[in-house]
């Protein structure tokens, strides 16, 4: 297994983006995004559909490249293959092998991160308990419901105990009870020092984040705690603040 090359100095930010821009076929999707996220923070990315959230987090992981600017993750310039060992990424779409069982999916991805034997078994148990999927592990994924697939996907991201969790709309299609327990776990993980970046459209979830980043049309229009964002917009709820700031951001252009 590869040794982790990143700097473990807690002073160095988990995520450090400087002037990131991304263009697809001469259409600018992200422009001049700078963002720093300290270790152990639970950071929420909020923004309308198509605003560039997924693109931004893909650039963080190094799957996608920015056209301009620099990305440092845990102090290491990206993209860097060995850094992927430290990330747990859950994509927006459930990328699962439908022909396999849940357990086979977990074992496969676990093996990709170098987990094996008793440790793999233990990690699978932990991760699936967390998403309440343990009873269904031996079923083919093609027989899973939408929410079950989402939970399996989340379990895979948690499997190798990553230092940085990047979750693209993790709780879509998951019922409120389970959602609550997943968020409790995310909060607990961040208390243990795991940095978590999560995109969401759900305002109640956004309220649980330490800080929020508001994206609109590829621009980061506000970064602050949920309370501060509500106050700065002069509204009473995050939802109103989101709409108000969004309009303001649009009008500035």
């Amino acid at each position: 297994m590869s040794t982790n090359v990143h700097n473990s100095n807690p002073e160095i930010a988990a995520v450090d983006l400087k002037d990131i821009s991304r263009t697809f076929h001469s259409r600018t999707v992200l422009s001049n995004i700078s963002l720093s996220i300290p270790r152990g923070e639970l950071f929420g990315l909020l923004g309308p559909s198509g605003s560039g959230k997924t693109t931004l987090i893909k650039i963080m992981t190094g799957i996608d490249r920015s056209d301009a600017g620099s990305v440092h993750m845990l102090g290491v310039p990206m993209p860097q293959l060995s850094m992927l060992q430290s990330f747990g990424y859950m994509a927006q779409s459930d990328a699962l092998y439908n022909e396999l069982t849940g357990k086979q999916n977990l074992s496969f991805f676990g093996a990709m991160f170098g987990l094996k034997g008793a440790l793999l078994k233990e990690r699978i148990q932990m991760a699936t308990d967390l998403v309440d999927l343990s009873q269904h592990l031996h079923r083919g994924v093609s027989t899973y419901s939408g929410g079950m697939k989402r939970r399996l996907s989340l379990a895979i991201a948690l499997l190798h105990e990553p230092k940085l969790l990047i979750l693209d709309e993790p709780t879509i299609g998951i019922d409120p009870v389970l959602r609550k327990s997943i968020w409790m776990e995310l909060t607990a993980l961040s208390k243990q020092g795991v940095t978590i970046i999560v995109t969401t459209h759900a305002m109640d979830e956004a309220m649980k984040c330490d800080r929020l980043g508001l994206i609109r049309d590829g621009k980061l229009i506000a970064v602050n705690t949920p309370q501060a964002i509500i106050e700065s917009a002069g509204c009473s709820t995050l939802e109103d603040a989101f709409i108000a700031l969004g309009q303001k951001g649009g009008a500035e252009q």
């Binding site: 490249r65 293959l81 992927l84 994509a91 439908n98 990709m112 991160f113 895979i156």
Partner: protein, 339 residues
Amino acid sequence: MRIRALAIRIIRQFLRDKRTLALLFLAPLLILSLMKLVFAGQSVSPAIGIIDIPPSLASKFEGTNATITDYKTNESAYSALEEGKLDAILQFTGDTPELLLEGSDPSINKAVLLFLQSSLQTGNSGIALSIHYLHGGPDMAPFDSFGPVLIGFFSFFFVFILAGVSFLRERTSGTLERLLTTPIRRSEVVLGYLTGFGIFTLLQATLIAWFSVDVLGLYMVGNIGSILLINLLLSLTALTLGTLLSSFASSEFQIIQFIPIVIVPQAFFSGLFNLDAMNPWLQKLSYIMPLKYGADAMKGIMIRGEGWNDYQLDVYVLVGFSLVFAILNVLALKKHRSM
């Protein structure tokens, strides 16, 4: 209403997909052109070696389309026949003309016999021709000669489609992207595919070879291990080529579109049809076709009982093709993850 809307949607989808359009209109032209080149080229002219033929007889060959070479010794003529430079040798033992056919290709055998019949008037005028075969025999059917090619072709064809479609699935289902968010190397992805499929490929090669020899009773004088080796290498080439080309397809349907572009031309050049009738510079195209090397080796092993020294070049070329395609695969994955 619904039907109309549906029809319009389908037409729009078609118009957006330039490749499907090209396939629809250009591929038939391509195939028709190939057919014409193969069947309407120069007619096959047999190459015959003669040893000690009475001048009266030899003069009858003048002005015909056959290539006649006079050999001084039996040995030189035989080695030319072995090397495939000659289709037949004509010589006299006593009063009877004796014909030794190379024998691998029934259609060439027939052409030689027809040629001799018309120029020597054997048969009718009473000169009995005694016929021998270097390989095969009089009851070798055309299928025996192109069977080995077909074995190679089917291995190649199915592995190509299978590999192409499954790699495409991996890509379109998003699992490739997820896979690439793990610390796996691009070369590991390609090697993993090669290994996983390699096992199935080996099984498939074994099954096809066994079926054609034991069930279909295909003419076979060579070593079954050699057949499996060649078939496996051919499948590996198909596998690497299939996965490589699948990066340029965005749906299963587009994989199917590679059949007339990549597979069918190879069938034409692999020995199913006699290329002697084709324009010589077009014949050279066969050098870039993996199937040709596989088919040549298979044919040599099954019909002529060739050993390692005879087919090793084909092995090297097939291994080379697989390596090149595999490396290109690794590079193509850069499209999905730059590191």
